[in-house]
């Protein structure tokens, strides 16, 4: 399942801003490349020189431990010099606009900028103002392409395929960039996608995304191959979008009883960090059907694949 080494895979684009626009071939190419890095990452010698001399800046306007460290490790294992910049809200308050920040960083001649921002579209705006490659590490409620890719890799390694599977994405779809990227990727790869959640957490006209919409977990999980749970932010569970943690867990939290409605070999995923006892029960999160730890491993491999593939389009490559 690896790519032909005589014709190295590359993406026909400078940036990875979203899953939207990626072809099934490009997605498959990235996943194949990532498979090589999964093997590499399990060895004692994990380093390659692919990005030697390159500078990667992780520009995170929104706090993130796991995504930032995953990108940092991915860059370092490929030999890049990695710089982490966490822009707290306080320094944004000093008045520098996103475009000013982009221009400043651009003057330092980075080769790749990995950006996370709380505003949808902010990464694309920044990408237009720099000369290097930009990877979207999550923009608002818009896209989080590397999460969708690592989810796809995890599914493919466990099910052998993505096409024809039924994937149920559950919970706070409204605020989730993970859900949007996954819906796009899974559709491109020929999976059947369902979304399940209370109506207050479903975006308007979500059925026009081509997904099947369920409000009831038991109905929505019936015959599902993959159950993807989403994180519900604390501030949304006390009467604004849902009445309480108790009620949310009762109706939409994934526990063993609800999981039994899915296929017996259904697998459970979660992008993390989990709220145990809110959207997922510990027994399920740590149970035999859970792929949650494997997702983290796949995250590093997929990000290495993305950095590698994009670097092949960089000037002087």
């Amino acid at each position: 399942m690896t790519s032909n080494p005589t014709a190295p895979f590359s993406l026909s684009r400078r940036h990875l801003l979203g899953i939207e626009g990626l072809s099934a071939e490009e997605i498959t190419g990235l996943l194949d490349l990532a498979e090589e890095f999964v093997t590499l990452n399990r060895q004692v010698e994990k380093k390659r020189a692919t990005l030697r001399g390159r500078t990667q800046i992780n520009l995170f306007f929104e706090a993130s431990t796991r995504t930032q460290s995953s990108f940092e490790l991915a860059g370092k294992r490929l030999g890049a010099d990695v710089m982490n910049m966490s822009i707290s809200t306080s320094s944004v308050k000093k008045g520098e606009t996103l475009i000013d920040t982009a221009a400043t960083l651009n003057a330092m001649h980075p080769d790749m900028i990995i950006v996370r921002h709380s505003a949808s579209g902010a990464v694309e705006l920044l990408a237009r103002k720099v000369d290097c490659a930009v990877v979207n590490a999550g923009d608002g409620a818009h896209e989080h392409p590397t999460q969708a890719l690592l989810d796809a890799l995890t599914i493919r390694r466990n099910k052998g395929r993505i096409e024809g599977l039924t994937v149920a994405i559950c919970g706070d779809i409204l605020h989730s960039r993970v859900a949007r990227s996954n819906i796009l990727l899974l559709h491109t790869m020929g999976a059947r996608v369902r979304v399940i959640g209370p109506s207050t957490l479903l975006p308007r006209d979500i059925e026009r995304f081509g997904v099947e919409v369920y409000r009831d977990m038991r109905e929505g999980l019936a015959n599902a191959d993959i159950v993807m749970m989403l994180r519900l932010q604390r501030e949304r569970m006390s009467g604004s979008f849902v009445p309480s943690v108790k009620e949310y867990f009762h109706y939409w939290g994934l526990d063993a009883a609800k999981l039994r409605h899915a296929r017996p070999d259904a697998l459970v995923m979660h992008p993390g960090p989990m709220n145990r006892g809110v959207e997922i029960d510990s027994a399920v999160a740590d149970g035999p059907q859970s792929l949650i730890r494997e997702q983290v491993e796949m995250g590093v491999a997929v990000r290495m694949a993305v950095l590698d593939a994009l670097s092949r389009n960089l000037p002087n490559a």
Partner: protein
């Protein structure tokens, strides 16, 4: 519940809006349910020990389902208890009472729903179901546990006499409630426009020197709610409409096919703003009694089915809070015991026909709330009121069974009264 004997109501005129039935027939009741309705049941073989009750010259109707009554339990037992409210209801032909959540504590937690249901089961002689609060503490900010409350037995969700100011809160509650097919009942009154108002805004209020409540306070909120019902497709019920302008909004909503229904209180159908002249605080209700044109429009709306439900808006207040200057007195009037008699007076006066009245007071509220009530179909719970239509009488407030006496109908003349009420096939009230 102890075993009850089978009962045969003989020779009465049976009026059942659930089947558009209006004819003379016998009604056989056993095991708490209606077994059969037909002419001449009395001559056929009846179950052993059947009690025959002669209803000749009387009317047999499904017991009333009162969709809006305040009962003070828990927290205001001096005003009314589940037991005293149920006695009043039985005497008024009301076999199901929907109590409001503005108690103390507020019915906003499944444990309190459970408490009310148990208390009602143990102390009340009619069926009582609670509505639960739509927002926690009736504060209009955070929605309650609609799913868990519904599964505990809350039949609908409302902030009772409070109107929710935030359209966003209401929109989310509509949206979320739809997942549980929840009915949201809303008191349509803009608090900022109502302000200190105590009666209908207009010439009369100006002459009396009382602060008025504009009709727009109701219509503006109703308009907003209907738009929210349109974008969310939630099930919405306006708790108490009072004026012609609101009826136009309601009619448009129904023509659009929205899941929108509405109630009017018996007070607003029978009384108008002139009744408060003399600063009579027993006529101080919320929303206020309106002009005679509004009352006539409201009656016409009940007659043509635009207004689905007629409620008592039973609100017991003791004398300490009513024997005060008008602007300081509490709002509210009792009505469980008199709603049917008041309705019969409207029928007698030709404003409504009996079928329509019973539909609005029994069949429609049962349908909207999804209750096994409001019908005399065989197999349905035997919740029945028997009316003597020719009985003329004068109400003596001292004889009322409610703990409070704040009726606007003291010494009023009535035509037609409840002579017997059955709940689940047992007689719970008999006029002697």
């Amino acid at each position: 519940m102890r075993e009850s004997r089978p009962i045969l109501l003989t020779g009465g005129r049976v009026v059942d809006p659930s089947r558009d039935l209006d004819r003379h027939a016998d009604v056989l009741i056993a095991d708490g349910v209606i077994k059969d309705i037909a002419q001449g049941l009395g001559v056929a073989g009846l179950p052993d020990g059947t009690e025959r009750i002669d209803c000749a010259g009387q009317i047999v109707i499904p017991g009333l389902v009162d969709m809006r009554a305040f009962i003070g339990e828990p927290g205001a037992e001096h005003r009314e208890t589940l037991a005293s409210a149920s006695q009043a209801a039985a005497a008024g032909g009301v076999t199901t009472v929907i109590c409001q959540p503005d108690t103390d504590p507020v019915i906003d937690d499944p444990a309190i729903v459970d408490f009310v249901k148990r208390r009602a089961r143990d102390t009340a002689i009619v069926n009582i179901h609670p509505m639960a609060a739509l927002t926690r503490g009736l504060l209009g900010r955070e929605m309650t546990e609609i799913g868990l409350l519904a599964s505990a037995g809350a039949v609908a969700f409302t902030d009772a006499a409070h109107s929710i100011a935030s359209a966003q809160v209401l929109r989310r509650a509509f949206t979320y409630g739809r997942d549980f097919d929840a009915l949201i009942v809303h008191h349509t009154e803009d608090a900022t426009l109502t302000g200190e108002g105590v009666m209908n805004e207009g010439e009369l209020a100006s002459r009396l020197g009382l602060a008025g409540v504009p009709k727009a306070a109701e219509t503006i909120v109703l308009e907003r709610d209907v738009r929210l019902a349109a974008i969310t497709r939630g099930r919405y019920h306006a708790a108490s409409l009072t004026c012609a302008e609101s009826l136009a909004v309601l009619r448009r909503a129904k023509e659009e096919g929205l899941a929108v229904t509405a109630s009017a209180s018996i007070n607003h159908l029978a009384l108008n703003e002139r009744d408060v002249v003399g600063y009579r605080t027993f006529f101080k209700v919320a929303p206020p009694l309106r002009a005679e044109e509004d009352r006539e429009a409201l009656l016409a709306a009940v007659a043509d089915g635009l207004i689905d439900v007629v409620v008592s808006d039973h609100n017991p207040q003791d004398v300490e809070v009513k024997r005060l200057p008008f602007s300081e007195a509490a709002f509210g009037a009792i009505g469980l015991e008199t709603m049917l008699a008041t309705g019969l007076r409207l029928v007698d006066g030709g404003a409504l026909d009996l079928m329509t009245l019973v539909r609005a007071m029994s069949t429609r509220p049962a349908e909207i709330l999804g209750l096994d009530a409001g019908t005399l179909k065989p197999g349905a719970a035997a919740d029945i009121a028997v009316i003597a239509p020719d009985e003329a009488w004068i109400l003596d407030a001292a004889t009322l069974k409610s703990r409070c006496r704040n009726t606007p109908f003291d010494e009023a003349r009535f035509q037609g009264r409840v002579v017997r009420t059955l709940v689940a096939g047992r007689t719970v009230y008999e006029y002697v």
